[in-house]
Symmetry: C3
Subunit: 334 residues, 3 copies
């Protein structure tokens, strides 16, 4: 186990993550990945602690991943789903969070359709001087840090499974393809990939990657490693990894897309298009996949190219690492 001290109390965004933090997560996730391969996959680290999954926006997949991660660490879990909650009774979100605080919750895993909600709750917890940690499980179009970290872990442990570290990505060309504009996954990935020294190429139709967005991104100090394209091909050329993003079908009805078929023709990933990339290119997708839209159905199931299943598995190990850090507040032997 690494011996770094972990100081971050809440995990809300990757925008200000340090290399040391990235590496602490990657190395600890690798340790947990090893635990998960044993017959008994539980460790007693968070015994007696309560992890509350406050999912104001429903997501079975992400909620299950956090729930398994928490249970592997022997925590007790509580699930809150907005639909059946007192949210419908007019209670504010901060009041809901404070209720779970008062019940003895140690870690709140929060998903909300609006950007900034996890941060607002974290600020309120800090203002109250309590030790509860907040983990952003996706807020609007802002960030989805655990997804960014599990993608980073998936890629870096593919390169060196024993010692995954952010430096392994330096100089790699990584394409991010799809609805960049509305994607919190893209944002979290951009932060971690830029920090790793990779070269990041965004590709999307203009409606999903508007000029102002490109300019905003280009204006940063990272402009020399971040590129935007309104066509797929230049992003794919010699790419080491291709990250596809989920396409919300409602984008089409909002007239941002002509048709799913045309989208697939122009920006969908297929075997033919992958020939532009490096020979051993790998494809990622945060799931759930619209088969035949973002990615062709056969490619998705081909373990030679697809890292999709590996991402889901990484998700549990990375979330165990995150819960471990903010739950125990220190890095010492598992």
């Amino acid at each position: 186990m690494p011996t770094t001290t972990w100081n971050r109390h809440h995990i809300l965004s990757l925008a200000d993550f340090t290399s040391a933090e990235y590496n602490a997560v990657l190395q600890t996730a690798a340790s947990f990945q090893e635990v998960l391969s044993r017959r008994t996959k539980k460790v007693p680290t968070l015994q007696g602690q309560v992890v509350a999954n406050l999912f104001f926006e429903p997501s079975t997949r992400t909620r299950s991943s956090f729930e398994i991660a928490a249970k592997r660490l022997s925590a007790d879990t509580l699930n809150f789903a907005a639909a059946t909650s007192s949210m419908t009774k007019g209670e504010t979100i901060l009041d809901t969070a404070k209720t779970y605080l008062a019940m003895g919750t140690d870690i709140m895993v929060i998903r909300h359709k609006d950007a900034g909600v996890p941060q607002a709750i974290a600020q309120e917890m800090d203002r109250l001087g309590v030790k509860v940690s907040v983990l952003n499980a996706g807020d609007g179009q802002h960030e989805h840090p655990s997804q960014g970290l599990l993608d980073l872990f998936t890629i870096s442990s593919l390169i060196d499974s024993a010692q995954p570290r952010i430096e392994l990505l330096a100089g790699k060309k990584i394409a991010i393809v799809g609805d960049i504009l509305h994607s919190r996954v893209a944002r979290s990935n951009i932060w971690s990939l830029i920090a790793s020294g990779a070269e990041v190429h965004l590709a999307a139709p203009p409606t999903l990657l508007p000029k102002f967005f490109a300019e905003y991104l280009g204006a940063t100090e990272n402009s020399q490693r971040l590129f935007t394209h309104w066509q797929l091909e230049p992003a794919l050329e010699n790419a080491d990894f291709v990250m596809t993003l989920r396409l919300q079908k409602e984008r089409m009805t909002a007239h941002l897309l002509p048709s799913l078929r045309e989208y697939h023709q122009l920006f969908g990933i297929t075997r033919t298009k992958l020939k532009l990339c490096k020979p051993n290119v790998k494809v990622l997708h945060p799931g759930p996949v619209n088969r035949g839209v973002e990615i062709s159905s056969d490619l998705m199931d081909d373990p030679e190219f697809s890292l999709i299943q590996s991402q889901v598995t990484s998700g549990v190990a990375v979330r165990m690492a995150l819960l471990y850090f903010i739950g125990s507040g220190k890095v010492s032997g598992i």
Copy 2:
């Protein structure tokens, strides 16, 4: 730990609670409150027992509180929500309860929109001669005993945190403000506060505290300690504690209330109105709060006056005590 023997098998109502029972709950909850402040907050008391939360009426808050309480005692929990259940398939409530009995449930925590359902289930269990205990988590406009007990614990442990006991409330003036007519919380609180020797002042508009209700209450032997008011001020004068009740917004559409704004003006608790009370008055609310209706928003967040967060925390300790009593059937060392 107290050495009293606990004989009550089901917890359905506070109407016939004895002082000894109130004090057993208060003292045991205090012990559990202490357990909850430790790093490892679990005790093995109910290991292997199954606590089923049968919530025919949804309530995330109360269900989570019971779920945490059960898990702290190492019980296994099952959640049943009417919406997704075979209730929609025409099964009767008693049949549902008997199914959970047959599966091996040890304690049933039951909420239902109709008064009397938990009692009917408890009677059926007794008729069948089984050891299952029923805990009423709110039935229609009848009672919500664990809420009454947690309010009692909140108040009495504020006065003496080491030894909370019902006698500490003797002679205190306590105002209960709001929709008395439809409130199961008010009914449970009236029983426990009268039993404690407190002076209870109910305040509400006539539509929410009709004459027949006042006469019904006034006709009891408790008439000398129970007072009803159609105005707020006489209830607040020199009050030690003010209990506000949740206002169901549907009361307004049922023409029982003119408008929320007018309600707040007449019966909402504000800093100004609190000046009528004792200087160190405290305010309670069972939650979820309609901010700016039953209570002004700033007052709710002011720890000098508000006990709302403390009530939620007390809820877990009190529910642990109740599950402990009916689950283990005896009072001996935790």
Copy 3:
């Protein structure tokens, strides 16, 4: 504990169950029934394993039974309900299953409104070469093997509680009454009862037991022990056990039934009709019961005749046995 080796990896259907397998389940369920009568009802068998209840079709009753069974074996459980899942986001069922696989699920308990879904998922798991087991918790009108096994356990342990075994049913006359055509429970029961050497008499109105169905069944090698009737009486005559099936009320609106009252008059089980059976006849029903339709209300509650509660209890023990076999892959001391 029996010393047989268990080789079946998935439990999808009873059609090809061997006598040795039936008896292994019955004897192991009897051992677990004994565990359930102890004060501490848990065994550590599946500690650290994850049992995911993937209920694409909702069922609180069956899901709770599996959840209790898994928790008694110390497994961690995950509940997935289609309504709140990414199914609504267009993900395929196989992709959902593969996501739960990738998260580290050890056993998938699957219910779906379409026949064949659990089998399709099991085949996919085998194709992928992974060790995950699939347990069919009801698929369309196909099978509900754990229900068939719990009915077998209920009957055989009534005859010999210490050593329930399939041979005990040889020569018994068992009537299955109701909506045979649409019932997965009937199909699973037919397989197990025929295998036991019992004489099985199906009784239903022609719309719910059409000629082609009778001919299909009659054409098998079991024709000499399987009989179909369009009237109730010949099925009941001298019967040892009467299995009633749940009637879906939508059958009536689909014009397959005249009225519930007429159905009850012709095929509903009452005390009077039971006089045709053996004196100590017992009645079963998989639940939830439409009181006064499939069975008269007073009969359902009469422990002299009704095995309904006993079936629910058996369900937990039988499901523990099934999870134990496919979770541990061997039969050795609990």
